[in-house]
Structure formats: structure tokens, C-alpha cells
């Protein structure tokens, strides 16, 4: 029996119990739907665990390496990017984020990064700022 599958089911069930516990404080039928959903999810999690426990043990464990961590590191870069767009400004942060992320993901053709930026940045400026007249986040740069 895979520990991952068991752990996943336990986490889902614990979250559902937490929802049921909080829902108890809601009166006037406000607790009905969240409690119902949480209960149903608990039942289906148990059924899913029972259904998959046999097949799951044959699945090899994925080793943690840079490839499996890439999406999570991209999220971290994106969080930094969102902070930067309100401090540095949208366009400067976007250029920096695009260059760093592309290189981090393994793009070594710097010409293609440059060409993409040359096309995308003016297009974004023309569309969002000139045409839609939306206020993109501004920082101390642009």
C-alpha cells in the first residue's frame, strides 16, 4: 500500500472534518451545503482509496530532482514577479521575469527570447495601455 495514497486521503479527510467543524457555527441553513459537500468528499475519498490501493503499489516513486521541482520554482518566480510589478512597474518586471524564467526553463537561444520580447512588450503596451486604457500596476520604473 502506498504511503502517498494514504497520506493524500488522510489530508483530504482532515480538511473535510475541519470544514464540518467550522460549518457548525453557521446557523439558518448556511451550514447545509458545506457540511454536505465535506461529508460526500470524505465518503468518496475512502472509496477512491479502496479502489486504488491495489494498483497504486506498483507505481514507482518519483525521485525529487530539478525537473519535478521546476513548476514549484516557477511559482516562486511568479510570486516575486507579482511583488515586483507593484514596486518596479509592470513592463520592467515583465521583461526581467520573461528573461529569467525562460533561461531557468532551459532556453539557450537568447535571440528567440529577445525577439519574443520585442514583439510582445509593444503589443501589450498598445493593447492594454493605449487601446483598453487600463491602469497596469506602476512602480518607480515603468
Amino acid at each position: 500500500m502506498s504511503k502517498i495514497l494514504l497520506l493524500r486521503s488522510i489530508v483530504i479527510i482532515l480538511v473535510c472534518f475541519f470544514i464540518i467543524l467550522i460549518s457548525k457555527n453557521y446557523s439558518n441553513h448556511a451550514n447545509l451545503l458545506p457540511t454536505f459537500c465535506a461529508t460526500v468528499i470524505i465518503i468518496f475519498s475512502i472509496l477512491d482509496f479502496v479502489q486504488n490501493k491495489k494498483s497504486f503499489k506498483f507505481i514507482k516513486k518519483n525521485k525529487i530532482n530539478i525537473k519535478t521541482l521546476k513548476p514549484y520554482l516557477v511559482i516562486l518566480l511568479s510570486i516575486v514577479y507579482v511583488y515586483l510589478i507593484v514596486t518596479l512597474g509592470f513592463f520592467v518586471s515583465t521583461i526581467l521575469y520573461f528573461i529569467f524564467t525562460s533561461i531557468f526553463l532551459g532556453v539557450r537561444n537568447y535571440k528567440s527570447i529577445f525577439i519574443t520580447l520585442i514583439i510582445i512588450i509593444p503589443l501589450m503596451y498598445g493593447f492594454f495601455v493605449i487601446f483598453l486604457q487600463t491602469s497596469l500596476p506602476k512602480g518607480f520604473l515603468i
Binding site: P34, D48, V74, S102, L105, G106, I113
Partner: protein, 502 residues
């Protein structure tokens, strides 16, 4: 009588100002619809200040054109990069993107264009000829019908789980749970907000959909090799026009999709977001051995695309005839209608027939025009599929962030979108259907409000009240039929696993 009156206003369409507004509406709708996070209601709202420069007829033509094209434009990004531009094109992302991965992006866009253009045209003709009598159908919908319609929609979860039925149901009910976040409208109690003012108004569909599909797709692509492309091959066909064989293969899928769209479009609050899933589930039920649903089945894409544009015209029926907007886009158009000094309702057809019938003709023309404009745009956009994943992934993430921010000018929505993105990525990784979660999020409020209204109007006797209403009975029967066929299909798939694998 309606037909002759409607025909008499057809000539009004051929003026330079009308044609200009038509083209502008289509172009803006297609571009904004294709960007994840930017929705047709936003595009229509942006056109309101522009519309003051035109008479009411031209102004409204621009908006309905933008609405039709925006609905279709959302499918472009859904098919090409699995980042649906609108909530009504989320189901198209499933089969559409799988076709793109097989190098069949142009074929997918061909079918999408055909289904959308003709769906819009049929829907437009229904609007033109049957608007006043069909408006009465919308009035037949009460709390029990809304609740049962939501239940009917939820049955689609079973079909879109693709063999992971329990995971699909977990995802669906998780989506419904998420829809309960925010202040409860009946008791005024804040639910699961944890003191956050932003969460008090609930979770908006747009950040959720952009996160679950677009941002998650960016993360998914970032785990691949940087030089790989989505489409695999680097040659793109020029043939944008659909082939007879393709249409012949999907003819019944188109009919089912159009049917779903036409019917659900009339019902306020239903619309394309629900119609697409019901059409898709119906298509899977009707599937034959050899059909590859979930792996790039053209029939599934045809049904979803037919249904979302099939409802565009009929969703305007309650707005024009009763003053009840069928969805957010219709609500914005309704606002523009009032701003331009027109009074919605049946009196609109009596007092301003030249405006309303010319606008409907304009809507029909917009559907044809969008097919041609899209044909030219399609190939350019299809180049996204031959772009290295290392460049495409950050681009999708940037557009997800900027699209979400621009929609509300609120950075908190960006954080919500990114949270949904991580959730969507993890769900896809462990085979939990993101589509089911989205369906739950969309249908949750309809189901809860319907149920609680039903409890009030039925004075606690829900079953007796419900079975007295013919429309409710019809919905119950339909739900049972779908559950029966789903169970039968599930059993059959289990029994014939080897045949299916072959």
C-alpha cells in the same frame, strides 16, 4: 407576422456606420475573448463609452457583435494552449488541446469555427423569429427548476472524469464547497472568509478559471523540455475551411450541441458555461467504440463549441423581451440599452422595432463576419503551438497575471488566481478533474439558491411541490436517464476494459 416585420428591417444593415460598428465589435470581441482573464462582459463594458458616439442601433450592434465574437474567441486559446479565454470555452480546452497536442490545431479550429458560426446563426434566427413566445418559457423557471437544472449539470461530472469517477466527484463537490465561500445571502453570515474582506464577496469565477486552466497549464509546460513544442510538428496547414467529411462525422454532435445551447441560453443564469458541459456529457454518453474522449475527440469539441455559441442569441431573448439579463454579458448590454434611452421588454418590439430587429440582423451578420476574421487570425494564433515550451510557459503565466489584474484592478485576485493555478496543477498531476471543480464552482450557487428558495416556497414540503410542476418532472426524468446511461457505460467500460484498450 414577426417574420415579415423582421425582414422589413434587413436593409438597415447596409450602411457604412453599421458595418463599421459590426467589424469593430467582432474584432475587439475576438481579441479580448482570446486572452485568458479578459471576458466578453469586460469587452462590452469597454465599448460603452465608445458607443456614445453612435446612434442606439449602431451602438447595440457593436455590443452584440462583441458578445458573439468574444464567446467564440475564448475557444482559440482554449484549443491552442489549454487556457480558455471565457468560462464558456473551458470544456473545449479538454478535447481541443488534446487535438493540438496531436498536431491537429488547425483541424480543431476549423470545427470550432464551423460549430460556432452556425451555432450563432441558428441562435440568432431563433432570437429573430421566436423571441416573444420563447420569453414565456423563461418565466416558467422557478426555484425547483433551477435546483434541478444544477443537479442535471452536475451529472456531467461522471462523464468528464474519464475513468476516475471518485476523483471527479471529489473535485466536483470541492468546487461546490468553494462556491459557498463568502457572505451567505440568506442569513448574512460570512462563510469560510477567515476575516478577509476580499473573500466576503465569494470566489469570482474568472480568477478561478484562469488559475485552474491557464496558469496551471503554464506550470505544466514548465516541467517539459524547453525546446519541445505543444503541436509536436512544425508545419501548419493553410486549410482553414472545414471539410465535408469532418462535418459529416460530427453532424449529430453539432445538432446536440446547438440544441443544448438554444435551450439553456433562454434560461437566465444558465448560458454557455453550463450548456457546454451538458453538451459534452451528452456527447460522451452517445459515444461509440473507438471514440477517444479525453484524448482529442473531434465530436466532443464540436458539441462544446456548438453549444456555447448556440446560446448567444437565445440568451438575449429574456433581456430583450422581459428585461431579465440571461448572463453577465447580457446584463452589460441591458445597461447599454437603458443608457441609450431604450426600455427593454415586449414594448421594445412595438415602440422601437427598427432598433431591435436591425440589432438582431446585426447579430446574425456578426456571426458570419467572425468566421471570416477568425479564419485569418487562426493561422497566426496557431503559431503558438509551434513555439518552444520554454518561451510559451512564461508567456501564458504573464498573460494570466495581467488578464486577471486588468479585469478587476485588484492584486488580490491575482493571488487567488495563482492559488487556483497551483491547485489546478496538483489536481491534474493526481488525475482530479479540474473541469469538474469548475463545474461545481459554477453550479454551486445555482443549486444552493434554488434549494433554499424551494424550501421557502414549498414550506418544507419539497418533494410534493416539485412533482406538481411539469418542467421539474421533466428535469428529474432527464437526470435519471443520464445517471442510468452513465452507470451502464461505467459498467460496460469495466467489463470491456481490454477491448477499449485495444
Amino acid at each position: 407576422m414577426y417574420i415579415l416585420e423582421a425582414l422589413s428591417y434587413f436593409n438597415n444593415l447596409f450602411s457604412i456606420s453599421v458595418l463599421f460598428c459590426l467589424f469593430l465589435g467582432v474584432l475587439i470581441g475576438l481579441v479580448i475573448g482570446a486572452i485568458p482573464g479578459l471576458s466578453p462582459p469586460m469587452a462590452i463594458a469597454l465599448l460603452i463609452p465608445v458607443s456614445f458616439n453612435f446612434p442606439p442601433t449602431e451602438a447595440l450592434i457593436m455590443m452584440v457583435s462583441c458578445y458573439a465574437a468574444g464567446m467564440y474567441g475564448g475557444s482559440f486559446s482554449a484549443i491552442l494552449i489549454r487556457a480558455p479565454g471565457t468560462s464558456a470555452s473551458a470544456a473545449s480546452a479538454i478535447e481541443g488541446f488534446e487535438l493540438t497536442k496531436k498536431g491537429k490545431a488547425i483541424q480543431a479550429i476549423r470545427i470550432s469555427t464551423f460549430a460556432s458560426v452556425f451555432g450563432g446563426l441558428i441562435s440568432g434566427f431563433v432570437l429573430l423569429l421566436l423571441a416573444p413566445p420563447l420569453a414565456e418559457v423563461a418565466l416558467l423557471f422557478g426555484p425547483s427548476e433551477y435546483f434541478l437544472m444544477a443537479i442535471l449539470g452536475l451529472t456531467a461530472i461522471a462523464s468528464i472524469s474519464f475513468g476516475h469517477i471518485f476523483k471527479g466527484l471529489i473535485a466536483g463537490f470541492f468546487g461546490i464547497f468553494l462556491s459557498t465561500v463568502g457572505i451567505d445571502l440568506y442569513s448574512g453570515i460570512p462563510r469560510f472568509t477567515f476575516g478577509s474582506a476580499t473573500l466576503s464577496s465569494g470566489i469570482d469565477i474568472m480568477p478561478a478559471i484562469v488559475g485552474l486552466f491557464a496558469f496551471a497549464q503554464g506550470l505544466e509546460l514548465s516541467s517539459s523540455k524547453a525546446q519541445e513544442t505543444i503541436g509536436g510538428n512544425s508545419k501548419l496547414s493553410w486549410n482553414i475551411w472545414p471539410k465535408f467529411d469532418e462535418i459529416k462525422r460530427v453532424k449529430y454532435s453539432l445538432l446536440r450541441g446547438w440544441g443544448c445551447g438554444l435551450v439553456l441560453g433562454i434560461i437566465p443564469a444558465a448560458g454557455g458555461s453550463i450548456a457546454q458541459w451538458i453538451a459534452y456529457a451528452w456527447e460522451i454518453q452517445k459515444g461509440k467504440t473507438g471514440d477517444q474522449f479525453g484524448k482529442g475527440e473531434i465530436k466532443g469539441l464540436a458539441a462544446t463549441e456548438a453549444s456555447n455559441n448556440g446560446c448567444t442569441g437565445t440568451s438575449l431573448i429574456p433581456m430583450f423581451t422581459l428585461g431579465i439579463p440571461g448572463g453577465i454579458s447580457a446584463a452589460v448590454i441591458l445597461g447599454a440599452l437603458v443608457i441609450h434611452g431604450l426600455q427593454p421588454g415586449l414594448s421594445l418590439f412595438k415602440n422601437n422595432p427598427e432598433v431591435v430587429y436591425t440589432v438582431i440582423w446585426g447579430f446574425l451578420a456578426a456571426n458570419i463576419l467572425m468566421g471570416f476574421v477568425a479564419a485569418f487570425m487562426a493561422r497566426g494564433m496557431a503559431h503558438l503551438t509551434i513555439m518552444p515550451k520554454g518561451l510559451l510557459a512564461p508567456l501564458i503565466i504573464i498573460f494570466s497575471i495581467v488578464g486577471t489584474y486588468v479585469n478587476t484592478n485588484n492584486i488580490v485576485d491575482v493571488w487567488i488566481m495563482m492559488s487556483f493555478g497551483l491547485l489546478g496543477y496538483l489536481m491534474s498531476k493526481y488525475n482530479f478533474s479540474t473541469g469538474a471543480a469548475l463545474l461545481g464552482l459554477i453550479l454551486g450557487p445555482i443549486a444552493e439558491n434554488g434549494l433554499r428558495d424551494l424550501m421557502v416556497v414549498s414550506r418544507g414540503d419539497l418533494i410534493f411541490y416539485t412533482i406538481q410542476r411539469p418542467l421539474s418532472l421533466l428535469l428529474i426524468i432527464l437526470t435519471f436517464i443520464i445517471v442510468f446511461y452513465s452507470a451502464r457505460q461505467f459498467k460496460w467500460e469495466k467489463k470491456n476494459k481490454n477491448i477499449i484498450n485495444k
